[in-house]
């Protein structure tokens, strides 16, 4: 299980990414964050941005239109 979770279900662009960034900012290095959401474009946008900023994507799963992204804070 991830250290923290963030529920973005029902939120649409660009909110899921904004909330992810806000949450990551407040977390310590090395901790993991699980983001849950259902807005399809964010499933691609969040991992891309995280990798670009030097964070690590641990897992990405999707079931019935709800995706789970686990991010490890590296910076």
């Amino acid at each position: 299980m991830a250290d923290e979770t963030l529920d973005c279900r029902g939120l649409i662009c660009p909110k899921p990414l904004i909330e992810t960034q806000k949450k990551l900012k407040r977390m310590e290095l090395g901790k993991t964050l699980e983001v849950v959401g259902d807005f399809p474009p964010s499933k691609k946008e969040i991992p891309e941005t995280m990798v670009m900023q030097g964070h690590e994507i641990i897992s990405l799963t999707e079931k019935d239109g709800v995706w789970h992204i686990v991010i490890k804070k590296m910076k």
């Binding site: 029902g10 939120l11 649409i12 662009c13 660009p14 909110k15 990414l17 904004i18 992810t20 960034q21 806000k22 900012k25 941005t49 670009m52 900023q53």
Partner: protein, 158 residues
């Protein structure tokens, strides 16, 4: 990281919303974003309650009274329909889970977006720097903006 500047000339609700979607989106992707509020756009960052410390002349008072005071009082550029259209749009946004302009301003600030207000319209309309919301970082002029825009990859005028 890429840099963006957004000049907000318009004081319309719909245009301000688009500007803030771009600004918060870019900031969330790690961009360095500067927003410059000018002309009617300065009404977006007016505080609802704060009073001007210095005395105003008649024209300045008229401007203060006639222009929308802050993000909540802005109107749509189209289909305002004496307030009905704007109210319906706000309700629709709530149903669709899109946050309001005030929340966008808070998000932008938290993600490090810089807020500048242009000096010239403040002068013309007689607004004082104490009348703006706390999120505003500084008052600027055209040379400040040009310096920022020179090394930005994206410069928008909304």
């Amino acid at each position: 990281m890429p840099k963006a500047t957004i000049v907000i000339f318009s004081g319309d609700l719909d245009k301000a919303l688009s500007a803030f979607v771009i600004a918060t989106g870019a900031a969330a992707m790690g961009w360095e974003v500067t927003m410059v509020f000018t002309f009617w756009g300065i009404n977006i960052v007016r505080d609802e309650k704060k009073k001007a410390p210095l005395k105003k002349d008649f024209t300045s008072k008229m401007f203060e009274f006639l222009m929308p005071r802050g993000a909540k009082q802005l109107r749509l550029s189209k289909m305002h329909m004496f307030g009905i259209g704007t109210a319906m749009m706000k309700k629709r946004m709530k149903v669709k889970n899109v946050q309001g302009l005030r929340e966008f301003i808070k998000d932008a600030k938290e993600l490090g977006v810089k807020f500048l207000v242009c000096n010239l319209p403040m002068d013309i309309m007689g607004l004082q720097k104490e009348e703006f919301i706390d999120e505003v970082d500084d008052i600027c002029n055209v040379s400040t903006y040009l310096k920022e825009a020179k090394d930005a990859e994206l410069n928008l005028f909304i």
